[in-house]
């Protein structure tokens, strides 16, 4: 199965989620416990993705020196804490990783 087909299938699933309580099920049917659980998915998903990607970087050297990836992640975290701007965090993370990689080499 091609990447496009799988992403398109993901689109179909997402569309079903979007319209579920608009066209299929009365919105009052969403129980409070489910509401609480799905509202908490954001931080869980972000943290799991960060851990998975960092783990892959460290294992495969996908972004150069493993220690550089971890260092860049820490500095990016500090930048995010101070600025609360995701775009700026990306720029800081990439620059720090590049600098640490250059120092290591």
């Amino acid at each position: 199965m091609t990447a496009f087909a799988i992403l398109a299938a993901g689109g179909a699933v997402t569309w079903l989620i979007r319209v579920a309580f608009i066209n299929f099920v009365p919105s009052s049917r969403l129980p409070p416990i489910a509401r609480r659980a799905v509202e908490g998915v954001g931080p869980a998903a972000m943290a799991a993705l960060i851990a998975t990607e960092l783990s892959q970087h460290v294992q495969t050297g996908g972004t150069g020196e493993p220690a550089a990836s971890l260092g860049a992640a820490v500095v990016a975290g500090l930048a995010a804490w101070r600025t609360r701007k995701p775009a700026l965090t990306v720029v800081v993370g990439i620059i720090v990783l590049w600098l640490l990689g250059a120092v290591a080499n």
Binding site: I6, G10, V41, A47, A48, I50, G93
Partner: protein, 258 residues
């Protein structure tokens, strides 16, 4: 841009906006250009557009790594139309994950849209069928946050339709346009390029501001621990396990007194 971040923008809370209802049509804000675009909506959405463009660039870079063609990349992005889930799906596909793992991960990450759909349902009720089936595709964190800040829309079906299509259309245009432009540059990262770090840094930038809440902290710590330990499992199962563990722990965390 999170829903909460979107809500922080001052222009969205204009105290001068008249309360619009079917009974005070004379006070309705003037239509702009063709009668389809809502000027208030356009003013609301502009700050959002500046925030989503960098995220779209990261998606474009990641899609380039999949070596997907530009039209296919744009089409896939339009269909899934959810940044975090798409980035996770691309990440899983890059690691060789299969259909089921990708779909489950996308479903779990986008489950919050169940809540958004339930909250927006009164505004979609009694709308034309085409709108009820097609327009929910525009449900994302940003559109949900903008509409939450416009409670007067609940009283005017036509105004909501125009507002929704304006903010959804503008976000879609910038989102897909930026992804397409980035994809047109071709693969711009090498195997050890620092640019490969962009998705990780973006997720850090989105997560860290949320960690001030105790429940978010517990969910994130649990998810990171499980996903990290299980990252050696094949087919992206570790990622899915981490998200589910974090969700569960986050739910428990809310019940305890802080």
């Amino acid at each position: 841009v999170s829903a909460r971040a979107a809500l922080r923008h001052e222009p969205f809370a204009s105290p001068h906006l008249p309360v619009v209802s079917p009974t005070n049509q004379a006070e309705r804000p003037k239509r702009w250009v063709t009668g389809v675009v809502d000027r208030e909506a356009l003013r609301d959405v502009i700050p959002i557009l500046m925030g989503i463009a960098p995220f779209a660039m990261v998606i474009g870079v990641a899609l380039g790594e999949l070596e997907i063609s530009q039209p296919m990349g744009i089409a896939a992005s339009a269909l899934i139309y959810a940044g975090s889930a798409q980035l996770a799906a691309i990440d899983l596909l890059s690691g060789g994950a299969g259909l089921i793992t990708v779909l489950l991960t996308v479903a779990v990450i986008n489950a919050r849209m169940l809540v958004y759909g339930a909250a927006l349902e009164p505004m979609f009720r009694d709308q034309p069928a085409w709108f009820r089936w097609i327009a929910p595709q525009f449900i994302v964190d940003q559109t949900y946050a903008l509409v939450l800040n416009r409670p007067e829309l609940a009283h005017d079906r036509e105004r909501f339709r125009r507002y929704w299509l304006t903010i959804g259309g503008a976000i879609g245009l910038v989102w897909l346009g930026t992804i397409g432009t980035t994809l047109s540059m071709g693969p711009i990262t090498g195997p050890q390029s620092p640019l490969n770090f962009a998705p990780t840094a973006l997720f850090i930038g989105m997560l860290v501001p949320k960690l001030a809440e105790r429940r978010a902290w517990i969910a994130a710590a649990g998810a990171a621990l499980v996903a990290g330990l299980a990252s050696l499992l094949p087919n992206g199962i570790g990622l899915l396990a981490g998200i589910l563990a974090g969700m569960t722990l986050g739910s428990f965390g809310e019940r305890r007194p802080s």
